[in-house]
Symmetry: C2
């Protein structure tokens, strides 16, 4: 079997504003290392998957960014969606493209904006997942929760299947929406629930069967797109006619042979500046500092200085992110409210800052 | 009698960093209005004093700034000190320059970095002070304290003298250093103590007598400087040889005929960003905002945005000052500690930011 990576790099995360912008979203930023999240995503699977087997599906306007950041990926394997239609269409599209090239292809669907510190274990899990996928399962990686997060969906594990590559594997009982805190606490306590990572592994032929069953219109429309080609004048309108659908809703919750491999790899989707702070190494004052900073009595804060000197006095648990044209200051515990700033900018039609 | 203003514009206030810089200190900034503090200082006395009678004594490197900001003042009346030597030398220098031009000159010594909202009452006090000065008193304006400030010197009033221009006048009993809080509270309660404004009014011939008595070496040195002229090669070394001395210590505390006119005019020396906040008009969220700001749950804060958008969430009682190359963030109650940032910049020899 051939292994293939389908990197989904079409997101436009706003919770990391002002660094993440519509023209330059999260996955193209060097948030946690010298490399961008997209580059990290590729490097993480590079030991498993030859570069000729890597596809990146992104927004049309980001195709050049992807090519610049991952110049070794064959040009025709960087595909620009005319508009975002959720995760289901690009995953099915990739399966259609692989169908003729490698009927036994096992594909890893990998969002481009995750941080996974323990890469070795992650790759072990991908190999395990590819083995389970070869038994005609749709496989997902479930992250062992470390706190009662209410911002993620959860996966409830069912009966155990055979171990794969030394890792436990379970049937999925059900997918659960973002829970209220009490529910999340129950999930955490039970040990039987895992965060939905959005990482999926399946054979191309298997997922195409599932699309035929549960999303027949979408599959037919995608067949049309592939046969007409991405250069066709009709591409944009054909794509626009697709229904917006996620893999979770559109396929995984409906399908029957679904497995989850629990994983404890320090996974983080960097959903906010506070989440990024939690990921990073602290200095002696428990700060995470990038750039030119002078702190007096400044603790447990995330400071991103761009070119300017950032001087802080008496800050604790704060986020300061300075960019060329915009500056954000907020307590870490309000980091989710960055969305409110972005909403206000949209209301003001202040597109330069979006 | 002719009235003359001697504006002292040589300060290099650091507590308003990062806007106030060594190359562009507080008095040259438009902190409270469209006009700079120097311009405000001049405009405030312009109704009383013809422009030909206004002198500005500043640092050498600021002469061009003064001329640019006050272009109507005769060029020869903008005098650049080679180095700062306290307030005593420039005041005596001005008196020497006026001695021949107008032996009865009454001079107002006016720091260039004060805010005085009630200008009408202030000018009434200057006229009163000029009358008292004509009775051979050294006169100072004492600001009625509104809280137990520990950052100012105080003046204790003694026996009352005759009213002048409708205002009370007292002999000065003594000048007091910056007090501890308990003392400041006593001063406030007694009603007999006033903040030392650093504004002085006297006849040129009278102050020269006092310098002859209490600062004879300084006076002799200044006579030499005036006779040799400010263009002389010797100016810089002659000036450098002067002792560092303030009017308060060097003259006022020693002299005998010293009077104070109490004044309640909303005076403020803008000694910190918090002091500036207190001066300014607030918006509906009790913020003082300059420039492009989006605030979510942001209250009672001072926000100075330069060119960048400043977005804040959940801030209360904070100071944010953004400039081209440096950004300050601190709680208002820590505004005095801006000095620590400046000290650290000096330690690092980061002169670009000083």
């Amino acid at each position: 079997m051939g292994l293939y990576a389908i990197i989904l790099a079409g997101g436009s995360g706003t919770r990391l504003w002002p660094r993440s912008r519509a023209e330059h979203p999260k996955q193209f930023l060097d948030l946690v290392s010298e490399r961008t999240m997209l580059q990290e995503t590729y490097e993480r699977i590079a030991p498993l998957i030859p570069v000729q087997n890597v596809f990146v599906i992104t927004g049309w306007r980001y195709v050049d960014d992807v090519r610049a950041q991952l110049p070794y990926i064959p040009e025709t394997q960087v595909i620009g969606e005319p508009e975002g239609r959720g995760t289901a269409p690009p995953a099915a599209l990739a399966a259609l493209l692989l169908r003729e090239r490698d009927p036994n292809a096992v594909t890893f669907i990998l969002p481009a904006d995750h941080v996974i510190p323990d890469e070795q274990t992650f790759r072990t899990a991908l190999v395990a997942a590819s083995q389970v996928a070869n038994e005609n399962y749709l496989v997902t990686l479930g992250i062992t929760p470390t706190f009662p997060e209410t911002g993620y969906g959860y996966i409830e594990a069912g009966e155990p299947l055979s171990d794969a590559n030394g890792l436990k594997v379970f049937r999925v009982r059900r997918f659960l929406e973002k829970p209220i805190l009490e529910k999340a606490q129950e999930f955490l306590a039970s040990g039987n629930y895992f965060w939905n990572s959005g990482i999926f592994i399946w054979r191309a032929d298997k997922i195409l069967e599932e699309f035929a069953k549960y999303q027949p219109a979408m599959r037919a429309q995608l067949e049309r797109i592939v046969s007409e080609g991405f250069d066709a004048a009709s591409f944009s309108s054909n794509w626009g006619a697709l229904q917006n659908e996620t893999l979770d809703y559109g396929i995984m919750e409906k399908a029957e042979r679904v497995a989850v491999i629990p994983l404890d790899v320090g996974w983080n989707d960097v959903g906010s500046w506070a989440a990024l702070f939690d990921l990073m190494e602290r200095d002696a004052s428990d700060n995470v500092v990038h750039g030119n900073h002078i702190g007096v009595d400044t603790q447990s804060s995330y400071i991103f200085a761009n070119k300017r000197l950032v001087a802080t006095i008496g800050l604790e648990n704060m986020v300061v992110v300075d960019t060329e044209d915009a500056l954000l200051i907020c307590p870490k515990e309000r980091a989710q409210d960055v969305k409110k700033i972005v909403d206000e900018l949209k209301r003001r039609k202040a597109n330069d800052y979006l």
